[in-house]
């Protein structure tokens, strides 16, 4: 089999690389070119889906992670955890509760040898071989943008917006309930009368198979109507509708406007004129002037949501379009935005960076060993930034709600 064989320079075998995302977990073996599996970040308890990130307390999280990691080791990766090294990609804003519990499960229950915690945005840069970049991760619960200059995150310029996949699913559901119909054996019914026929997986399937990010030109006409209340005859000619088969013989009729309008949520500006593209410009504004050109020249877009058809093209046009706004016009002197080509799918770029790190001789020096962990009884608190950011975010939300 001409399979690409993973390369490990350190001689260590089966170093597990794990990226537990809000929606999906990417896992595999260091030195390989792609993850072995991408699975939902949840476990099933008595036929109920329990999401890993929805936990009431650390004990609950501990039990859930134990079950989840058991599945990863013994059903997917088929390797022994004991005394093996591992690499974990985590968000810069990962709550310390989560990482502490994860470390506890791995060190105490599975007895792994060592863990290297890597910041997902930095690992994304590792995966493309650069040190400086404006890394935007359009994930599940949020879009998080971190400018990184020569390997250091520019903390004060970090931008985040709670608009990503989850918001798309919500908008899709709302629109379907509002205008979609279902063909059943008993005739055609409005979808709103059958609240149980949708779940998150179906919504996601509808999104990836039917929805797309429309062109800037059409989007402007659409927003004129949907956001600013112009008459609906101003809408561009609708794209063809789709008949989407549901369970059994039911068929969901999805209107062309739903296909086209759903992903607009990423680009519609909120009351503070924030949208996914403006995060890039706002981050640049907050970065020191002498970094800006270089960062604009090194944009890296990751995250599963960025895989939507049309996303990149639209993002790029939006950047130039927004740049003309008074908010940025005189402050940002940028002629050109350049994006890095990835050597992976957007949804596992950080994982790939972790897989590269895991293959190097220097892994040990960047890892926390079980001995050190057991002696200290906890992880050394090198990263409290997440909490600082959290409180900052909460304050912002409070201000917003006022």
């Amino acid at each position: 089999m001409p399979l690409y064989e993973g390369v490990i320079y350190s001689g260590d075998k089966n170093i597990v690389v794990l990226d537990i995302g809000a929606a999906y977990t990417k896992c595999g073996i260091a030195g390989e070119t792609g993850p072995r599996c991408i699975i939902p970040s949840h476990i099933k308890k008595d036929d109920q889906i329990v999401k890993l990130w929805d936990f009431n307390n650390e004990e609950e999280l501990y039990e859930n992670l134990k079950e989840f990691l058991f599945m990863i080791y013994f059903r997917h990766l088929l390797v022994n955890p004991k005394d093996r090294r591992m690499v974990i990609s985590e968000s810069l804003l990962c709550p310390s509760k989560f990482r502490d519990t994860l470390a506890r499960v791995l060190f105490r229950h599975f007895e792994v040898g060592s863990i290297m915690f890597g910041t997902s945005h930095l690992l994304a840069l590792t995966a493309i071989g650069v040190n400086t970049g404006l890394v935007m991760d359009v994930g599940y619960t949020e879009t998080l943008l971190i400018p990184v200059y020569e390997g250091i995150p520019v903390i004060k310029a970090i931008q985040s917006l709670p608009i990503a996949s989850q918001a798309i699913h919500k908008k899709l559901e709302d629109q379907l309930k509002e205008k979609a119909t279902v063909n059943t054996a008993g005739g055609c019914k409005p979808m709103s009368s059958m609240p149980d026929c949708l779940n998150e997986q179906i919504l996601e399937d509808i999104k990836v198979r039917c929805c797309f990010v429309t062109s800037l030109e059409r989007a402007k006409q659409i927003q004129e109507v949907t956001v600013y209340g112009a008459d609906s005859n101003k809408l561009p000619a609708a794209v063809p509708s789709v008949k989407f088969p549901l369970d059994g013989s039911q068929v969901l009729n999805i209107d062309g406007t739903i296909r086209e309008h759903t992903c607009e949520i990423l680009f519609e500006q909120d009351n503070e004129e924030n949208s996914v593209p403006t995060l890039v410009l706002d981050a640049l504004l907050k970065c020191p002037i002498d970094m800006r050109l270089e960062l604009a020249d090194n944009i890296v877009v990751t995250g599963g949501t960025a895989m939507l058809p049309g996303f990149h093209h639209r993002l790029q046009l939006e950047l130039y379009d927004q740049l003309k706004k008074p908010k940025y016009q005189n402050k940002l002197v940028i002629k050109k935005f350049q994006f890095h080509k990835l050597f992976s799918k957007e949804n596992y770029t950080s994982w790939l960076g972790g897989a590269m790190y895991g293959a190097l001789e220097t892994l040990a020096t960047r890892s926390v060993s079980r001995d050190v962990y057991l002696t200290a009884g906890k992880l050394t608190d090198w990263c409290c930034i997440a909490e600082e950011m959290e409180t900052e975010k909460e304050e912002k939300v409070k201000l917003k709600n006022r």
Binding site: M1, L122, Q201, R209, C210, M356, W382, I385
Partner: protein, 439 residues
Amino acid sequence: MLIILLFNEMSLSGPQHCLKLKCSECLLNEVDSHYCPMCLENMSSSEAKLKKNRCGNCFDCPSCGHTLTTRATNVAISDPDDPGKSTPKKMYYMACGFCRWTTRDVAIDDKTVASGGWEDIENTHAKKIQSLLDYYHELALNEKAERERKKYVRRRSHLYYAASMDKYGMVTVAVKKKIGAMSNVSIKENEETTTQITTEEKISDFPALPDDFFTTPLELSKVTTITQRLASPEFQPTITNDLYPKRKHLLIRKSMRCKECEHNLIKPEMNPLSIKFKIQLVIMHHIPEVRLMAPMEFRFKKELKVVLLLINPVVHNTTVSLLPVDKESDSFSTAKIELPKKEVVLARRDDAAIYDDATQMHQEFKDEKNVVAFRKANKLGVIIKVTPLIQEGDVKVSFVLRHDYRNTAVVLPMENQEPQISWLQHRIFLNLGRIHKSK
């Protein structure tokens, strides 16, 4: 939560041994052997790693996940020497019996051999990833050498980063330390490398969606589902034309090991067809089972005789005594219990002799009526007296079960040597039921 209780092997040869009850929580799971669930072929762990845990012969349907079967067809091949003549030739393709997907659907050529002819698709980025890795490898080596050199010199790499941050006035003193630690993740650029990375590629113009995208009806059957995409994580095909047969994922047999003495408690046989275990030290095969006979009506401060059923799982008679626990250390019990003062003997398990005369057995074991309620084969009903001390809630009692145990699970070093007898004690916690509500 179901807890499997396991009983640890006692090794006579090894220096360490323990005879403790272990639950699934205090056991270490291990990958014992890899095998394919379809062809049941075993695979060594190094081969499994090389093949990324996938079988060399069996394939799954990329469309629905069921197993693909190989089909043979006869194809007429024209003879190059004589264009008028054609000879039939056997060709093979794969098809899914469940969703009817075939390798022909996606224009994969039929193969001339039944197996082994199916190549894997290659990751188009593999070369670039490899050259990037080579570059990092060199950096890492340099870093390692530098660290050796600077072992006695003051460390300054973290300071260096913090200082460069300061140039831009971005960091407060408080976060400097954290930033320093974070730069952990970036590999230090070093000019001394010989490998140049040529992987970096930038895009300044992404293509727009084609015009007909907005007017052509969407053919849903040609777009893959999220499940189909993620089933092939490295490639994530978006259109069904890009689906490709998936090699069957292997399964493993697990063994379990005691975390303390590292002895195997459960070890499966190598043969994937066998459901037997080489070693299986599950509690139900070694330790007398304690069961409650029938639900009772408990009342506050009213003494009741409760019959506990003891079952002997081993082929030797087992002497059992029930001992009280320290009142101070017992925060579990909600009732007072009176246990039999004398030890009782559980008859050995004898699968052949289930028709034994009960009275004869009573005599053999000299059972006392106030202690033994009944005896049948390897089962024994023991009477304990329970006085609930609560007015409502669960009636709970606790005691120690002490019994002799012959370790037959280990191979003895010498023939005819008597197995060692040990005395084991287990704390038993029993919930007997709720206090009866009288109206």
